[in-house]
C-alpha cells in the first residue's frame, strides 16, 4: 500500500510536468506555431495522464482524459483543424484536467465547476457522440478488472483429460514464441504429455523459420477449461489451437480476458473500434520526433527521487563543516609558530573542496522556476475572462534555477502580483484601442540570475500606478499628511503599505483583503525584496530579488565600534583605505569620497548602527551596491577578510530585525550579525533616492 502511494506521488509529480508541457504545446499551437511534433507531444501528454489515471483508478480523470485524448487524436491525424477557437477549448480542457489531477491528488472526488461545459465543448469540436465518448474509457477499465472473476463461481470440476492441438503458423517463431517454453509453462497446468504430429521435410525444403510440426498437448487437470484457454490465448494470433476432447463450455459467456490476443481481435474486426474513430497510422507521424523530447526523456531516466528532508540534513551538515573549517583555518593563522606549509595547503584545499561540496548540494536543491511560471498563464487567462480584459502573458528565463523552498513559496506572491497587474494595470480593450495601444495587453514574467541573486520581473504595458488615487487613499487612511505631499516615487511605494488596498472597493479580483503588503512580507521572509517602477500611462514593473540559497553565503567580515559584522559579498563592490582617497565635505555636513573620478556618498556604519563616534578606526570604506540607488561608500573601522558564512535566522529565536538579515558563527566561535545593506541604508535615510521598498 505504501508503495502504491509512492507510485501515486510519483505519478502526480509527472502529471504536473506533463500538464505544464501540455500547456506550453497548446499555447504554441493556439497561436498558430508548433509543428507535427508539438501536436504529438501534446497528445502524448494527455495520453500519459490517462494511462496513469487508469493504473490508479481515478475514474473522473480517466473519462475526461479519454474524451480529451480522442479530440487530440483527431487533431493529430489532421481530421480536426486547430483554429484559435479550438485551441482555446483545448487550453480550457488542459485546465480542467489539471484540476482533476489536483483533486485526485487531494483525494477529493469533487467535480470541477466547468467540467461539464468543457466536456461538452470537447464533444462538440470533436464531433463525438456524448455517450460513447464519456462511456468509452470507463467500461474498458471495468471490463478488464472484472474479467478474472468471470469464472470464479465455476462448479466443482473433477480431474479429467483435456487434449489440445497446437499448429504453429508461419509467424509463430518470428513473433517471439517458442514451443519448448510453451510446454515448460504448460506443466503448471498439469500438462502430462506432448505428441508431435507432422513431418520434418528434407533439408533442401526445410525453412528454419517455419515450424513444420504440430503438437497435441494432453492435460490431466481439474482447472476450469477457461483457465487453459486463457493460457493459450497469447498464442492465438500465430497458431491454430483446438480442443480435441469434448467438454461442455461453461455457461458464463467467455469474457475476452487479457491478453486480448491479436488474432481474436482480428476475427471480430468491428467490435472494439466503435468507440474510437480510425486513427492515422502512428508509424507515420513518429519519425519526426527529435531532440525536443530527447532532453526530457534522458532527464527522466537518469534522475533519482530523494526526500527533501535528507537533502536538508546534508545542507545543514555542510554548513556545520564550513564553520568547523573556518575555525581550523583561523587557529592555523593565529598560531604563528606553525611554519608548516603543507598543513596550510591542506586547509586551503579543504576549503576549496568544501565550497564545491556546498555548491553541489545547493545544486541538488535547485529547481527551475518553470514549475511555478507555467501555472501563471492560466491565472492570466482566468482573469481575462473574469475582467473582460484581454492580456497575454509572456514568459522568459523559465529555466532559471532557484532553491526549491523558494520555488514553493513563489506561487502565491506571483499570482497576487499578476492579479494586481491584470486588475489595476491592464486597461479594457476599448480603452486600450482609444489610447493607441494594442488591443491585447502584454504582461511579461521573467527570471534571471544576477550575481548571487535571482531577479524576477513582472512588467505590464497597462496604465501604471494611478498616483492621484493612491495618494487620495493614503491621505484618507492617514498614512501620509496632506501638507507634506510625498514624492511620486514615495507614492508608488505606498501600495506596499500594510492596510493599504485600493482594491477592496474597486474590484473583486485583487481586493480580497490581501494587499501588496502581503506580497512584500512573503518575499521578505524568503530573504528577498520587492520594488516597483512606475511609468504612468505606460505600465508598471515589479522586481523581486531573491537570494539563490537560503543557507550559505559569501561574506566580508568587518569591524566597527569593536564588533564584527558580516556584509554579503554580493553587495560589496570593493574596499578602499580612506587615507588613499580624496574626501570632500559638503555644506550639509555630508561627505563624498572620490573613487575613479566618481563621487560617492560616505556613510558611517557606526552612525547607522547608532554606535558612539569613538576614537580610532574608521579607516576603511567599503563600496557597496544599494541595488536601486547606485553605489555608496560605507565607512567602517577595519576589514578582516572574506569567508563563507552559514546563515542562521534570527527570526526563529528572536524576531525580525530591520537591516539585519541573520547571524552567523565565525571561525573563532563568536556570533556576528549579517547586515542587509540596502535595507540598512534605507532605514538610516542614507539612500539618496529611497526607491527601496523594504524598510
Amino acid at each position: 500500500m505504501e508503495e502504491d502511494e509512492d507510485y501515486q506521488s510519483l505519478f502526480f509529480t509527472e502529471c504536473h510536468e506533463l500538464l505544464a508541457d501540455l500547456q506550453d504545446h497548446l499555447d504554441l499551437l493556439s497561436q498558430g506555431g508548433g509543428d507535427g511534433e508539438t501536436v504529438n507531444a501534446a497528445f502524448r501528454a494527455v495520453h500519459s495522464v490517462k494511462g496513469g489515471a487508469a493504473a490508479f483508478g481515478f475514474d473522473q480523470l480517466i473519462s475526461f482524459a479519454h474524451v480529451f485524448e480522442t479530440v487530440m487524436d483527431k487533431v493529430r491525424s489532421n481530421r480536426l483543424e486547430l483554429t484559435e477557437e479550438i485551441g482555446n477549448v483545448l487550453l480550457r480542457a488542459g485546465d480542467v484536467m489539471e484540476q482533476l489531477v489536483e483533486n485526485a491528488q487531494n483525494g477529493s472526488d469533487a467535480t470541477p465547476d466547468n467540467l461539464k461545459k468543457v466536456l461538452s465543448e470537447l464533444e462538440e469540436i470533436g464531433d463525438l457522440d456524448p455517450q460513447t465518448a464519456t462511456g468509452g474509457a470507463a467500461p474498458e477499465v471495468v471490463a478488464t478488472a472484472a474479467a478474472p472473476e468471470a469464472d470464479t463461481e465455476e462448479t466443482e470440476l473433477l480431474t479429467r483429460e483435456l487434449v489440445f492441438s497446437l499448429t504453429p503458423g508461419p509467424d509463430f517463431f518470428s513473433s517471439g514464441h517458442d514451443p519448448l517454453r510453451l510446454f515448460r509453462a504448460a506443466r503448471a497446468h498439469n500438462l502430462i504429455e506432448v505428441r508431435a504430429t507432422g513431418e520434418v521435410p528434407d533439408i533442401d525444403a526445410f525453412d528454419p523459420d517455419i515450424c513444420p510440426l504440430s503438437w497435441e498437448l494432453v492435460f490431466e487437470t481439474e482447472v476450469p477449461l477457461a483457465d487453459i484457454r486463457a493460457f493459450f490465448e497469447i498464442y492465438d494470433a500465430t497458431a491454430e489451437i483446438r480442443l480435441l476432447t469434448e467438454e461442455e463450455e461453461p455457461a458464463t459467456p467467455e469474457v475476452p480476458s487479457e491478453p486480448v490476443a491479436l488474432a481474436e481481435a482480428e476475427s471480430k474486426p468491428t467490435a472494439p473500434t466503435a468507440e474510437r474513430p480510425p486513427s492515422a497510422e502512428p508509424a507515420e507521424d513518429q519519425p519526426t520526433q527529435q531532440e525536443a523530447t530527447q532532453q526530457r526523456t534522458t532527464v527522466i531516466s537518469k534522475s533519482l527521487r530523494v526526500e527533501l528532508a535528507r537533502i536538508d540534513r546534508l545542507v545543514n551538515l555542510v554548513g556545520e563543516m564550513l564553520i568547523t573549517q573556518a575555525g581550523l583555518a583561523q587557529r592555523l593563522t593565529e598560531d604563528e609558530k606553525t611554519e608548516d606549509l603543507d598543513l596550510g595547503h591542506s586547509v586551503d584545499a579543504m576549503s576549496r573542496q568544501l565550497r564545491e561540496l556546498q555548491e553541489s548540494v545547493m545544486a541538488i536543491r535547485a529547481q527551475s522556476v518553470k514549475s511555478v511560471f507555467s501555472r501563471m498563464p492560466r491565472v492570466v487567462r482566468d482573469l481575462s475572462d473574469k475582467l473582460g480584459k484581454e492580456a497575454r502573458l509572456e514568459l522568459a528565463g523559465e529555466h532559471t534555477e532557484v532553491d526549491t523552498t523558494v520555488i514553493e513559496e513563489l506561487a502565491e506572491p506571483l499570482t497576487h502580483m499578476l492579479r494586481n497587474s491584470m486588475d489595476h494595470g491592464i486597461e479594457g480593450p476599448e480603452q486600450r484601442i482609444a489610447l493607441g495601444k494594442p488591443k491585447v495587453g502584454t504582461i511579461t514574467l521573467s527570471a534571471e540570475h544576477r550575481g548571487e541573486r535571482v531577479i524576477i520581473v513582472i512588467e505590464d504595458d497597462g496604465q501604471g500606478i494611478d498616483r492621484d488615487r493612491v495618494l487620495q487613499k493614503a491621505v484618507e487612511r492617514g498614512l501620509v499628511s496632506e501638507d507634506e505631499p510625498p514624492s511620486p516615487e514615495e507614492i508608488d511605494q505606498l501600495i506596499f503599505h500594510p492596510g493599504f488596498s485600493t482594491a477592496a472597493e474597486v474590484s473583486s479580483v485583487s481586493g480580497r483583503g490581501v494587499g501588496m503588503d502581503v506580497v512584500k512580507k512573503k518575499i521578505q521572509q524568503l530573504g528577498g525584496r520587492c520594488t516597483v517602477r512606475n511609468h504612468p500611462g505606460k505600465g508598471a514593473s515589479f522586481t523581486i530579488t531573491l537570494p539563490l540559497t537560503l543557507a550559505v553565503m559569501d561574506g566580508m567580515t568587518i569591524t566597527t565600534g569593536g564588533q564584527q559584522f558580516v556584509l554579503p559579498l554580493s553587495s560589496v563592490v570593493e574596499a578602499v583605505r580612506l587615507e588613499n582617497c580624496q574626501l570632500r565635505q559638503l555644506p550639509d555636513d555630508s561627505t563624498l569620497v572620490e573613487r575613479r573620478g566618481e563621487y560617492l556618498k560616505l556613510i558611517s556604519l557606526r552612525r547607522v548602527l547608532g554606535m558612539p563616534d569613538g576614537q580610532g578606526g574608521n579607516s576603511m570604506a567599503i563600496i557597496v551596491d544599494t541595488e536601486t540607488s547606485g553605489l555608496v561608500a560605507l565607512q567602517v573601522d577595519d576589514l578582516i577578510g572574506q569567508r563563507q558564512v552559514v546563515l542562521k535566522s534570527l527570526e526563529a529565536n528572536f524576531q525580525r530585525v530591520e537591516g539585519v538579515s541573520g547571524a552567523t558563527i565565525l571561525g573563532d566561535g563568536h556570533v556576528a550579525l549579517i547586515l542587509d545593506i540596502p535595507a540598512l541604508l534605507t532605514l538610516s535615510g542614507g539612500c539618496p533616492q529611497p526607491q527601496e521598498l523594504v524598510h
Binding site: V141, S174, F231, P269
Partner: protein, 119 residues
C-alpha cells in the same frame, strides 16, 4: 528467473512494472522510449520485453519492428502494454510481430504469469 526489459515513458508506470517484475524474482532492465529500448536490447539481451505503445522518439510498434531485425530480438517475446484499443493498432502489432497485446491497467499476476510462460 528471466531478464525482462520494461519500456514506458511514464516513470510511475515504468517503476510499477519494474517492481512487479522484481517481486516475481526477475532481473529488470528499463528504458523510457524505443530508442533506449533498442540500446538495452543490443547491450543486455533480455529474455523478454514489455513495452508501452505511445512513447516519444520511437513508439512501441516501431520499436518491435526494429527489434525484430536485431539478432537479439528476432525471436524475443515482446508484449505491448497500452491503453489503446484501436483495431488498426492491433493489426499493426500483428504485422510487426508483437507477441501479444495487453491493456492497462495490468494485473501483476497476469504479467508474471506471462513472463513465466513466454520467457
Amino acid at each position: 528467473m528471466s531478464r525482462v526489459l520494461a519500456v514506458d515513458d511514464t516513470r510511475a508506470l515504468r517503476n510499477m512494472l519494474a517492481d512487479c517484475l522484481k517481486r516475481g524474482g526477475h532481473d529488470v532492465l528499463l528504458a523510457s522510449d524505443g530508442v533506449e529500448a533498442l540500446e538495452q536490447l543490443r547491450e543486455h539481451r533480455p529474455d523478454m520485453v514489455i513495452t508501452d505503445l505511445n512513447m516519444p522518439k520511437m513508439n512501441g510498434l516501431e520499436f518491435i519492428e526494429a527489434a525484430r531485425k536485431e539478432p537479439a530480438g528476432q525471436s524475443l517475446p515482446m508484449l505491448l502494454l497500452t491503453t489503446e484499443t484501436a483495431q488498426e493498432l492491433k493489426d499493426r502489432a500483428k504485422q510487426v510481430r508483437a507477441t501479444g497485446w495487453l491493456t492497462k491497467p495490468f494485473d501483476p499476476d497476469q504479467i508474471l504469469g506471462l513472463v513465466d510462460q513466454l520467457a
